[in-house]
Amino acid sequence: MLAVETHDLTKDYPVGFFRKRSKRALDGLSLRVEPGEVFGLLGPNGAGKSTTLKILLRLVFPTSGTAQILGRELHDVSMHARLGYLPENPYFYDHLSAGEFLNYAGELFGLEAAVRKQRVERLLERLGLAASRDVPLRKFSKGMVQRVGIAQALINEPELIFLDEPMSGLDPLGRREVRDLILELKAQGKTVFFSTHILTDAEMLCDRVAILNGGRLQGCGDLREILRLGVAATEVVLDNPSPAILKELSPFARSVVWTGELARLEIPEEPDVARALNVALRLGAKIVSLNPVKMSLEDYFLARIEDAPGTASPDDLAAVGRERRGAR
């Protein structure tokens, strides 16, 4: 049984003063999320990521198409007992303290008082909020609110957790903590579905990703596959090479980028690396470092965004990979 399944999910919003025209926020989205994986929904701002999550959580109703979560239809509200949800830029009840709010969340899940108490304490501890248990939420910083948000998403020990932009507004330490938490959840066998526009985070966490742009799915697949498709290259960094040296090395290098006194050369072909090194050493260039370079998710992402719209499949990915290799 899939964790999440959508079939041709479409959402039109009526716009204009008389609400006559409509804006298509989501266009025929079909995707599958396997249980136990970390799935990333990527896309630029306004791509439809939040809309997708809201449809899945019954905050917004689809214009057409269907979806199932944990095998149940969307209108099955009782199924929410097995879900956790962190909204984008969350805002909770100002007047409640962290502990009170989590307790309220637990009540809504129908948890017994003793169980609630235990879980609230444990979550506050785990998320580093134990000291702020009785502090009203209005006094919380953004990062702390985010953590409370995660806590209320986990209080019912859900099988499937939806996170909408979980890293937004966090400092690097906060982002690291959330990343660790997501990995921890995965280790517990839970499914995590999160949306983000920060590709580096997705790269570190996701098993599979889907790329959304303008409401349409532009690409979807296993992350490792995507990254393997990248044009492998090797980066050679030289310390202040002379123009003569650079001239000798230019046939091998795809690009030369200067950072201060350092020149980074990207050498795509494997055999060329050894040849370039020999030339550099012979000419007395100062070699600072030598590193393999993979295609980043960003490259893939930008490529899909720039492509003609259409639903991608794993075969497409191979084609893209070949294209890019050919272009160099």
């Binding site: 959580l57 109703f61 009782s78 929410h80 007992a81 830029n89 969350p90 009840y93 809504l108 129908g110």
Partner: protein
Amino acid sequence: MSRVASVALHTFKESVRERVLYNLIAFALLLIGAAILFGSISVGVEEIILINLGLSSISVFGLLMAIFIGIGLVSKEIERRTIYSILSKPVYRAEFIIGKYLGLLLTLAINTAIMTAGFYVALFYQKRSLSLDDLVVLEAVYFILLQLALVVGLALLFSCISTPILSAVFTFCLYIIGNLLNDIRWFGQETGSALVEKGTAVLYYLLPNFSNFNASAQVAHGESIPPYLLLANSLYALLYVGILLSASILIFEEREFR
């Protein structure tokens, strides 16, 4: 605890923390206390003035509280986006609406009780003793509570549809019209136009009739309200509130949160 009860208690606690509530109660109690002075200005009406002023204060301040908090019941949750973390949990939208309603009603009931207690303290101070006959005032207070139940229902319905300010205006207008329904109907009959007459008759039955619940003057003269009226008004309020809540639920179930 059922989810409705959770939402209700949460709404109650949130209302209780509204500072405006305390200002209103304090003012009402002040007014009731001052009523003792007003009585001495006039001749022969000390107790009557205290009862009339007391009941009017309880009614007016209860009305203000009901509208002020009622209009934000749903719209505030939507505007502040706290609704996301509620409806993403296994909470039916109907449970949410009913819970919100009951929470505010509980708040109003307790506030009314406080003001009524204050009133009896003032009455005791004035008369130097209280008798069982003085309990007749509670009948009028009960009717005031029924009115407030209707007003909260109206405010909640509008809260699902429009902004707080418009909700306040609509609710308040309906309250005033609801008090004048008898006159509107009489007016319709007087105009002689069959269309207007039918129209006003329809309005008469459609809109909430608040004048049914006006018992203050009667009670001030020590007269008890007939049991039939107590029962009939209770049923009317129950039915009308049921209709308002159902309408609110229907609207809210269609509502999307962008």
